[in-house]
């Protein structure tokens, strides 16, 4: 089954790169939650859209990396234009961003790409997230409210700290069972689907998880939107670097995604993405 959005869920970005001021940077278990005040950006980015970020100072250290900016879904936008990003420090770019101090400048451009579309009338939204991929689901929940059921999986209890970003009591799975249920988030999804007559899935997480979600939804003919990841240099369609294979050929994830309709994918296992 397909999502059939009425119009492209995309808020336009101001042209060019601007500087936001970092207002906070705090620990969230294994992650960092970085907040920055994007004074001149739009207040209404669509959940699932992303920003390209770079530190204004010290972007490019030993060995001349990071060089290009990095892509991040926003987790939340506040009324004054403050954006929250949930980061996992996995390489030179995320490490630099993870150590930003309040007051420092954050170069950003965005919101970029196409976000999540509304669920079909009468379908119950299931938000399925894995690890750092829970970030864009926070604002999806903000928008959908109690109607949405949140199912999230993490490697460990340190990672599961990100669950605190969600309202209510999300269902949690961890690899080691230290928080919530032991196992994979797809098992939670299977259970939720069993309980739900008409579901619509919103998913983001590591590629193997998304692939499992895609297969499960295809099997049960449940519509699903998947927020994918791929290596990006520009974020606005300039470099043709971020393509992922779809049934219709390669699409640039930064302008035709990152949220794709699962029905368009043969597989969510994107070459070269993730860590």
């Amino acid at each position: 089954m397909r999502f059939a959005p009425s119009s492209e869920p995309r808020t336009l970005a101001p042209l060019g790169r601007r500087t936001a001021q970092v207002t906070a940077n705090r620990d969230l278990g294994a992650y960092r939650l970085v907040s920055a005040h994007d004074a001149s950006g739009p207040r209404d980015p669509r959940p699932g859209q992303f920003y390209m970020l770079a530190a204004e100072d010290r972007w490019g250290g030993e060995d001349g990396r990071p060089f290009v900016p990095r892509a991040f879904s926003f987790a939340r936008v506040r009324e004054d234009g403050t954006l929250d990003f949930l980061l996992e420090a996995v390489g030179p770019g995320t490490r630099r961003l993870a150590e930003l101090e309040p007051g420092e400048g954050l170069w950003l451009s965005g919101p970029l790409g196409i976000g999540f579309s509304a669920a079909p009338e009468g379908a119950r939204p299931l938000l399925v997230g894995g690890g750092i991929g829970t970030a864009p689901l926070v604002c999806v929940q903000d928008e959908l409210g109690e109607e949405a059921e949140v199912l999230i999986g993490f490697r460990s209890s340190a990672h599961a700290a990100a669950a605190a970003l969600f309202a209510g009591a999300p269902l949690i799975a961890t690899d080691d069972g230290s928080v919530g249920r032991r196992g994979l988030v797809t098992e939670l999804l299977r259970g939720a689907m069993d309980r739900t007559e008409r579901a619509a899935v919103f998913a983001c997480g590591p590629a193997p998880m998304l692939e499992a979600v895609r297969a499960l939804c295809a099997e049960r003919d449940v519509p699903a939107q998947l927020a994918l990841e791929s290596g990006m240099a520009c974020g606005y369609g300039a470099c043709f670097g971020c393509v992922v294979p779809t049934r219709g050929g390669y699409v640039r994830l930064c302008v035709d995604g990152p949220v794709l309709d699962a029905a368009d994918l043969e597989s969510a296992l994107v070459p070269g993405a993730g860590h």
Binding site: R10, L12, A13, P14, L15, G16, R17, A54, G60, D63, G64, R65, P66, F67, V68, P69, W107, S109, L112, S230, G231, M232, A233, C234, Y236, G237, A238, C239, F240, G241, C242, V243, V244, P245, G249, Y250, R252, V255, V270, P271, G272, A273
Partner: protein, 270 residues
């Protein structure tokens, strides 16, 4: 200023294949079409081939010290798709348009720079169009100036260089080539000294205007390429880091030029 008879408001172009004005408009909206917002003084399309091409399998990008390696593989809609779908949209841009084409058979121009004999390829293009023809050189030719001179003799109205340098990266996990295309092209500040040398050497050899590029990231860099003999510059990879890099570079370049006029005045006065 004038490039092959076309009036440009300034000397900063985009590198072919490094800015998709149509995708940028989807992202940034019609603000992009304002003359004062559009980042370049002329727009160069992504390279078009006769037949549509999917491009190389991903992954297509790798970051290197002050550089980027890409194996994009010239994805494009083909000539027909371009003329039908893209050209009408590109015609709305507030600056002159330069369409980048790769021969009428792919191999033909891919080998252009490899040998002087290829001059024939340019002659054929020359005969087919009344528009100015700009030939882009590959930087891996053993003698770029000889290739440029051959292109000039065959009627090129301008030459453009450098393209990316051939490079490679390994996947740290599998220890095999990371890029779907095995090798890729290196661009960005890392290659700037190589680009500057080739631009200077080619500009000293040919009479036609030279469009210089390779790692330009600031007005000072642009200034250096013009000092080395380029008539115009193009910005590629830096647009990935900053979507309006072209505008910033033009602005910085303007400041430098004014300062220099100021300095030389001061020197004259002293």
């Amino acid at each position: 200023m004038d490039l092959c008879g076309v009036q440009l408001r300034g000397p900063v172009l985009n590198g072919s294949g490094t800015y998709d004005a149509i995708a940028a408009r989807r992202t940034f909206g019609d603000a992009l079409l304002e003359p004062e917002s559009f980042p370049f003084d002329a727009f160069v399309s992504k390279t078009i081939t006769l037949e549509p091409r999917q491009g190389n399998p991903p992954p297509r990008l790798w970051e290197s010290p002050e550089g980027l390696i890409n194996s994009i593989g010239l994805p494009n809609k083909g000539l027909e798709g371009f003329l039908r779908a893209d050209l009408p949209l590109l015609a709305e841009l507030p600056v002159p348009l330069i369409v980048s084409v790769m021969g009428f058979s792919r191999d033909e121009l891919a080998h252009l720079a490899a040998a002087v004999g290829e001059a024939a390829a340019v002659e054929r293009v020359r005969a087919a169009t009344e528009k100015p023809v700009i030939v882009k050189l590959t930087p891996t030719a053993a003698d770029p100036a000889a290739v440029a001179a051959a292109a000039e003799r065959s009627g090129a109205d301008a030459v453009s260089l450098v393209n990316t340098l051939k490079g490679m990266a390994l996947d740290p996990r599998t220890r095999r080539p990371w890029l779907g295309g095995r090798t890729g092209g290196l661009s960005g500040p890392a290659i700037r000294p190589v680009a500057l040398e080739q631009v200077a050497t080619v500009a000293a050899r040919v009479r036609v205007p030279v469009i210089g590029m390779g790692g330009i990231a600031s007005g000072r860099d642009a200034r250096e390429f013009l000092d080395a003999g380029a008539a115009c510059v193009a910005v590629g990879t830096e647009s990935f880091r900053d979507p309006s890099a072209g505008l910033r570079i033009a602005r910085e370049f303007g400041v430098i030029s004014r300062q220099e006029r100021g300095f030389s005045l001061a020197e004259t006065v002293r």
